[in-house]
């Protein structure tokens, strides 16, 4: 199907991987918040994984939605 339309835009793939990884980081942060296991990490109270993960996921989501129907002509 994709071969007929051409190659998918690179930005779609960028969005997809950022979205997936962002969600995983965000979930790791939530899990750590509910069930704290980590010690000896500086600035742990900032819960960086929650907001940084969310930021990566949102960036990924924007790229994915914006480029989901874009193809490079062959």
């Amino acid at each position: 199907m994709d071969t007929e339309k051409g190659m998918r835009s690179i930005w779609f793939f960028v969005g997809l991987i950022m979205l997936t990884i962002g969600i995983l980081v965000f979930l790791a942060g939530l899990y750590e918040l509910i069930n704290p296991t980590v010690q000896n990490i500086k600035l742990i109270s900032l819960h960086t994984n929650i907001w940084w993960g969310a930021l990566i996921a949102i960036t990924g989501l924007i790229y994915t939605i914006k480029n989901k129907n874009k193809y490079v002509e062959q």
């Binding site: 690179i10 995983l24 942060g29 990490i41 500086k42 600035l43 960086t48």
Partner: protein, 559 residues
């Protein structure tokens, strides 16, 4: 180093990333039908795709891990690698040199040398490039194995071979198209992994003002202490920085290293090709701020005994390359560790994929097709390209074991640049801007320049000559600097190459204007190199001027 506590989410992130990279390789295989698809990604890419891939090919593990360590060792002087050592050369490439490269539709830099000079110049330059690439790839492979070995506790052999297999798998699948695709994905991942470090570091130390308050002048200025080599941590004068790093090494790397320029050749038109290094220059400045900033934050932490932060000490020597992993250990919580380790792996993949795809192109076109099998079909070249990738990676594995035996990799890397890149840039720039230079002048200039630089390095390393021999007017402080010797060796290599080329050109046969048309400034058909008429704010010159103003402003502000 203790291995980092990777949790379930961290492993999931690594797994997702690797699965994604292999999937992209298989997906793109459908779109790789000819040798031009494999080597030049079909020449259909936008300036953003090319610009990001260009920068990503430069953002190898050496670039980020190595130079963060150099920032701890040399303070703000390490920023010169991102300023005088990058920006002017990148802009020169985009504004002045790209029209020649792009117009000639060459597939590699040696290809340009053949057109401008002769077949011998092409083969010599290709051979030097291949040697350079294997040495550099060996270092990259070693650093990647170091990450697996120290972070995950895997043994050395497994770490090296596993890294090699991953690179072989996806570069073999789709050549440059795959390498560029992956580089762009990695580019974003790398930023996700490293951008957060200086932010957390600044919160930890109490803000940017603490950097200035805790460091001596030599560590927090760019030029103020460069009048006397003894006053700065790099033991180098402004002359060495400008001529050696800023000219001979930077121009050698940014304007003639096919590894990165190849990305611009895949652009859909000349304007996009010219914009490629200019877009890259903005990211280079940002990367410099992140890398050097992170290193200087680490320096403040090290200087503060209550911070509890230390670098690794192995065999009584400080391991500067451990800065980035140690900072990640300090600040990264679950999930972030996964992104951090994956981004370190991504840096390696970006660097190695770049190395291997350009190694492919140069070996296949400039050595195999030019010397070994002149009648090879497009399909045969595609097949050779894939075999070359595997062979190149196997040679890099050998290089990794050599690099493992070296004390430091960054100084070694700069030494390689001074020997194999500086003579090439001298001849390419002379040949591109002066039709007087003859084919024999170009060939002998490169050959003598490389030979002298290699002999100087060997003599220095075997203690036949002291380091101070290559550093003009050196005092005892400058004489200790391996880095300053690299900068000056590059200057001598450049001067000897240029001088030899000019002298021999007086006595040897010149090419006619017709033969040189398209390859020398002043002998180019204007209609072929002038970009289409675009608004002033879309011109490469406009965007280059903005970067240059930022570059000057940073140098003045941090003088």
């Amino acid at each position: 180093m203790n291995s980092m506590p990777l949790g379930l989410f961290d492993w999931a992130i690594m797994l997702v990333y690797f699965a994604f990279i292999v999937w992209i390789g298989f997906y793109l295989k459908k779109f790789t039908k000819s040798d031009e698809d494999f080597f030049l990604a079909g020449r259909r890419n936008s300036m953003w795709v090319c610009g990001i891939a260009f920068m990503s090919a430069n953002m190898g593990s050496m670039e980020v891990i190595g130079y963060t360590g150099q920032s701890v060792k040399y303070g703000l002087y390490a920023a010169h690698f991102y300023l005088i050592g990058a920006v002017p050369a990148m802009l020169f490439l985009g504004v002045f040199m790209m029209p020649f490269y792009y117009h000639s539709k060459i597939k590699s830099i040696p290809g340009y040398l053949k057109a401008r000079f002769n077949e011998s110049a092409r083969v010599f330059n290709a051979a030097m490039f291949v040697v350079n690439m294997i040495l550099v790839s060996g270092i990259a492979l070693y650093l990647q194995a170091l990450i697996f070995h120290t972070f995950l506790g895997w043994n050395w052999d497994l770490s090296i071979w596993l890294s090699a297999i991953f690179v072989a798998l996806y570069v073999t699948l789709s050549g440059l198209l795959s390498a560029m695709f992956t580089e762009i994905v990695q580019f974003f991942l790398i930023w996700a992994g490293i951008l957060i470090l200086p932010i957390l570091g600044l919160v930890d130390i109490g803000g940017p003002a603490e950097i200035s308050a805790n460091l001596s002048e030599g560590f927090k200025t760019l030029w103020a202490t460069s009048g006397n080599a003894a006053n700065n941590p790099m033991y180098v004068t402004w002359g060495g920085l400008i001529l050696g790093l800023g000219f001979a090494i930077a121009f050698g790397y940014w304007t003639t290293d096919f590894l990165i320029i190849q990305r611009a050749f895949s652009a859909k038109d000349l304007r996009s090709a010219r914009m490629t290094p200019i877009i890259g220059s903005y990211f280079k400045l940002l990367l410099g701020a992140v890398v050097v900033g992170t290193g200087m934050i680490a320096l403040v932490l090290i200087n503060n005994p209550t911070s509890g932060f230390n670098l690794l000490v192995e065999g009584g020597k400080i391991n500067y390359d451990s800065v980035l992993p140690m900072l990640m250990q300090r600040y990264f919580t679950p999930g972030l560790i996964g992104v951090g380790v994956t981004s370190l792996v991504a840096m390696f993949m970006a660097g190695m994929a770049g190395n291997m795809s350009s190694f492919n192109a140069v070996w296949t076109y400039d050595i195999y097709h030019s010397v070994i099998n002149k009648k090879a079909s497009s399909q045969k070249l595609l097949q050779i390209g894939r075999i070359t990738t595997v062979a190149g990676i196997l040679l890099s594995v050998a290089g990794a074991y050599i690099a493992r035996s070296m004390p430091t990799v960054i100084d070694y890397l700069q030494a390689i640049s001074s020997m194999f890149l500086a003579p090439s840039v001298a001849i390419i720039i002379l040949g591109m801007f002066w039709k007087f230079i003859t084919p024999k002048g170009g060939l002998w200039g490169m050959l003598i320049g490389t030979l002298v630089a290699v002999l100087l390095f060997i003599a220095q390393e075997t203690k036949i000559i002291p380091i101070s021999f290559v550093i003009p007017g050196s005092d005892s402080a400058a004489a200790q600097s391996f880095m300053a010797a690299n900068f000056w060796r590059a200057v001598w290599a450049w001067l000897i190459s240029s001088g030899t080329a000019i002298i021999i050109s007086f006595f040897t046969e010149k090419k006619t204007d017709e033969e040189l048309r398209g390859y020398v400034k002043g002998l180019v058909d204007k209609t072929e190199t002038v970009v289409e008429k675009v608004a002033w704010n879309k011109k490469p010159e406009f965007w280059a001027a903005i970067t240059f103003v930022i570059f000057i402003a940073i140098n003045i502000l941090l003088w």
